[in-house]
Symmetry: C2
Subunit: 239 residues, 2 copies
């Protein structure tokens, strides 16, 4: 069978224009912690989320009475309801609510991809549901890593490699070079998980902030079967 679909990886939101393509599902990835937190939010009953790139927009929504999560550089911003931890959504407070969220990297990546055919949210916590769904769509897949301030980060790249491996194994897709690079990286880290976690710069940053519990949670596979999807300005639970 001829493989007509393409899976590729974009390692920074800044490179998105170089990878943009018609008929492509963009999977936005920010493992530590935005997209992991989004999956958790829906799993724990959030109704809708409004991802916004700037703190100004976040403030505007806060004034209107929304619950707002806002984080920069791993730290919750004062004056908002919470930061970027998945645990923020387990308290019952956000159940049935519409929550606005603005983060250092993840919400910028969503902004970059807004015009794509479809934008969905990926994390280790929903990887199996995500990969199974992608394979039924008959569309190209672009795995968009949020990275760190336009730089590559290790955990998003490794996650992209994990997804790429599952899609490649389905035999439906051709791969771009970046997908192969992420795949090889993922395979290498499977042989040396400890070294990988120890070395990732953002893992170090969060661990130094006492957020090891968050890191462990974000690297735990399949805690939900929900795939958040962008509909207009809202992220909603995919039907």
């Amino acid at each position: 069978m001829e493989k007509k679909l393409i899976v590729d990886v974009c390692l920074s939101p800044q490179l998105y224009p170089a990878y943009e393509k018609e008929d492509t599902i963009v999977v936005v990835i920010d493992v530590l912690r935005a997209t992991s937190a989004m999956c958790t939010a829906f799993e724990y009953g959030v109704e809708k989320m409004i991802p916004v790139a700037t703190l100004e927009e976040a403030h505007e929504y806060k004034k209107q009475g929304y619950l707002v999560g806002a984080e920069r550089n791993g730290i919750a911003i004062e004056g908002f309801d919470f930061g970027n931890s998945p645990y923020s959504y387990m308290t019952g407070k956000t159940k049935g609510q519409t929550v606005v969220i603005s983060t250092t990297n993840g919400t910028q990546a969503i902004e970059a991809a807004r015009k794509a055919y479809k934008v969905v949210i990926g994390a280790f916590t929903n990887i199996t549901a995500l990969c199974n769904w992608l394979q039924t769509q008959d569309k190209n897949v672009l795995l968009l890593c949020s990275g760190w301030k336009n730089r590559l980060n290790l955990e998003d790249t490794v996650f992209a490699g994990a997804v790429a491996e599952r899609l490649i194994n389905s035999n439906l897709y051709q791969t771009g070079d970046a997908a192969l690079a992420a795949l090889f990286l993922y395979q290498q880290t499977q042989q040396s998980q400890v070294k990988f976690f120890h070395n990732s710069s953002h893992s170090k940053r969060l661990a130094a902030m006492g957020l090891k519990k968050d890191i462990k949670y974000c690297f735990t596979l399949d805690q939900t079967s929900i795939i958040p999807v962008l509909e207009g300005k809202y992220l909603v639970k995919m039907a």
Copy 2:
């Protein structure tokens, strides 16, 4: 000993602003084929090179009587003296000459990094000389991959990983996430070279053009001990 220096990798010229840093030696990498050809040019007696980003500039120099190599998408541009093959510099014609060069990706990367503390040229063909020299400089190192039209390419990333490994082994450097990613990728490809060469998109492109000989040459280690370095508008042989 505290490791104060940093080695990192920038996977696309477009991301250079996110990685730019003072006191950093930038190694420009375009394995297939611009930086490999540059190393060959000096090894075979070229006096100076003038890398230019646009074909307009290349035309201007051509009118002034310079020898000009110009290539886009792997193909030599009509009206110039040659394209991007290392073999262009083995004919004797370029010996003692100043040669102007403009390529799809490599000369764009040089342009992006022009204001760095120092810009040098790296390829598998000069890897040992390059790595030995870098370790004597007491400077940060940024390995700048030219990629393919702002996308990541596999061969530049793998080369960056090979350099990163040697520098990390010297115990002088801390690493950024992208350097670790390139390192892990390099280590993985060491276990499966064949698969890697077979899959690289630009290898496929060049092989389809009958340029397998060029590919083989560009992946052969240490054919020269010359390190080309940017001085003003010229690339020259490092003293």
